[in-house]
Structure formats: C-alpha cells, structure tokens
Symmetry: C2
Subunit: 228 residues, 2 copies
Amino acid sequence: MPLSRETEASRRGIPEATVARLPIYHRVLAHLAERGVATVSSEELAAASGVTSAKLRKDLSHLGSYGTRGVGYDTEYLVYQIARELGLSQDWRVVIVGVGNLGHALANYGGFASRGFRVVGLVDADPTRVGEKIPAGRDGETVEVSPLVELENVVLDGEASIGVIATPASAAQAVCDRLVAAGVTSILNFAPAVLSTPVGVDVRKVDLATELQILAFHEQRKHPEVRA
Amino acid sequence: MPLSRETEASRRGIPEATVARLPIYHRVLAHLAERGVATVSSEELAAASGVTSAKLRKDLSHLGSYGTRGVGYDTEYLVYQIARELGLSQDWRVVIVGVGNLGHALANYGGFASRGFRVVGLVDADPTRVGEKIPAGRDGETVEVSPLVELENVVLDGEASIGVIATPASAAQAVCDRLVAAGVTSILNFAPAVLSTPVGVDVRKVDLATELQILAFHEQRKHPEVRA
DNA sequence: AGATGTGAACCAATTCACAGCA
DNA sequence: TGCTGTGAATTGGTTCACATCT
C-alpha cells in the first residue's frame, strides 16, 4: 500500500523525547489561543516553550505537517492536533493512593481536571483519614477517602486505568502490585522506591529528593571552594 | 602533566544522564548498608536500582574505579563516594515559596532533611497563612511562614542557594526573578510555567500534569479502539 | 573463576543548513 | 521573501563483549 494517507511521518513511533515536550507546547498554545493569538511562528512558540526553534519544528514534524510555510502555525488548529495526539480528548480516570499532604495537593490540583484527568478514587491506610471528603476537580466536587482494603474495588468501580502512588516508600511496591492486579496499566510514583511491574504497565516516577540532589550536584560545581 | 592522579575518568564532566541516576544508586546503597550488606555486585545493585548492569558499571566508571574485580563494590565505601560526588556532605539551605498543599508537603518531606537539605525559609503571599509554624525537617523543628515582601530577607538571612517555587503559574516568573536577585542560583519549579533565568542559574522543573499526560499518551496507544 | 572497567558498535536525540512551498 | 519541514552531520547515551585484575 504505497499511498497511505498518514502524512508519511506520523503514525508509529513518536520519539519519547518529543512526547515529553508535547504537553508544554500544548499548554503554551492554549494560553496563546485564549489570548486571541491566531498564528505563531516556530521561533515564537519555541521561545515561549523554552526550546530552540529547530527542535520545535522537528518535534512537530513527527505529528504531521500542520504549519504553513512563510506564515507559521494556526494556534487553534495546532492546539487541537496536539491534544488529539496526547489523548486529551478522552477523560482519564485516576486513583490516588496515599492522602497525606502530597496526596491532598494532587487531589485538588487544578491542572488535572482541566486536562481531562478525573480523580475517581482516594485511598489511605490511616483509619482516621478514611471517610474524609476531599475537594477534587474544579467544580466543588468532592471524593471520599476509602480504606486500603477497598483499593481493588475503588479501581474497579471507578474504572481507573491510571494510579498515583503517594504513600511512604515502604508501602509502594505492595500498593503497586494491587493496583496492577486490579487493572491499572499506568502508574505515577511519588514514593522514593524502585517499582517492578509486568510488561505492559508503564511507570513514571517523580522523586523530589532526587531533583534537589541533581541541583546540588551542579550547585557544588559552581563554587570550586574545596577542591580536595 | 601526563601523570595526574585523577583516575583518568573522573574530574570534569560526568554525563548528565549519569548524574540523574546517582541519587538512586545512593539511596539503594544506603538501604543495603543499613541492612548490613557489606558488598554488592553490579548485577545486584543494578537490579535493585532498575537499570542494567552495564549501565551501572559505565555510570560508576565516571566517578572512578571503586570496585574490586571478581568481588564487587564495598557498600559503605561506594555510598560515601557517591555522596561526596553529589555534594551530600554539605548542607544545602532551601527556601520554599508558596505554602499551599504542595508547599506543605515539601516542607515536611522527610527525604529532604535526611539528605542534607534544610528548609531555612517559607514564604507565602496569603496573609492568613503568614505566621503559621510548619514542621520542617525530622526533629520537630518548625519554620514560620513569612510574607511575600520578606522574600529577599528570608533568602539572605537563611543564606539559601536553592529556591523551590510552589506558587500558581501566574506568580512563578516574578518569584523566580526575586529569588535570583537575592542570590539563589538553583531553582526547583513546580509551577506549570516556563521560567527564564540568567546563565549560571539552574532550573529543574517538576510538572505533575505533564507527567500524567505522558502516561496518557502511552495508555492511549495500548488500546487501539478508535483508529480514526 | 568471577566480576569490574572500558573500547567499539550501536542507537537516539539534537543541531545544522537549506530545499521547497505559500 | 519568509518560514516550514527535513535530510545530513553531530553529539550524547546505551549496549556489547572482552581484556584485565583480584
């Protein structure tokens, strides 16, 4: 089938590095669009996104050919194409395990609801927290905290495919196993622990201490005081 | 100077990808050490860290030659060497701006104190939060929330070199500018905004919505339902 | 014998520079 | 003319496979 209509570059394999930047372009474009900007050049969009224009154009070329030579990109059209590629049209159902300060912060983080992520369940091991109603999403909705034994039911009832682990490190692997057994196939892990999962389950981790340690490493090199 | 004593591989330029993994090795090694494990092979340490043994050995080779052929690595010795390389012997003074749920979570996150990061200041724009005493670090110490106008003084008095931005996106760039002006040279940014800084200032960002969007992208590809 | 440390081969990502189109 | 889209060149990172040393 030599003449398939898929823009030659799209379908199959957008580089991982590109995928990681699409959400940024999406956010910047959304801002521009609601500010009424109709068109942007790669140069402008790149500057606003903190990347080089060559990188931006290469990234976008993986999605297809959505710009106009000599002009730039139509803001609305491009924001739509990126949203579609990222699957932001669907609404993703998320369960958060661990409702400490961090879990709380995640539950009522505005940025989730606005991008199609719905918190359908909250789970915590602490009995004193169970039953608490926590505001989640934008419109004053609340979600009640369920006990840890209910984890599987919360995932199933909520039809969640994404799990967020915001527990202490010691609990993380067990929680992960149970999320996966209940059908979760994507996990965002905030616990400082290495998780092992079956193939087919994606894990991303956010490690706060690690980020500071990376900064500290570079910071140290800026001040060549003790060169022992 | 042909015979400089620097293990040939060390000093100057540890690859960024390696730096990003050192904190993980450090944490895993620290666990092993306190569990009394005296020696580990690259195979074991790699498995516990979620990487391949070849990658681990290559990473460690950038620091120097700290293993013993036929045996493995001395746990205590290696944990020390990595700590030194990361600058974990110093204690890093951190100011957190924005004391909402996320800022709270960061302030009393145990993982910071235990790795040489000390929260020396908390700043918030909300007058109702100013004056609040927030537990930070391990040993029941508290830090009082200062008003936004005091930002510069908090940085200077605390001699902070690292700033954490946990404000809404709309405030992030202004806060960033003020942190930099006050002498901060490393910034960890949780606000969904692209920051611009002078050269010499490092910025790392942690974007919660972005992480979920990356997971959603891959999730979408797992279920080839709507192939439009 | 057994595991490290490392050159060489490979693969992914970025940058360059310009052909091609509006 | 001006800006996109993309091959080619380059840089950075990973994997392989084995010489080297305890």
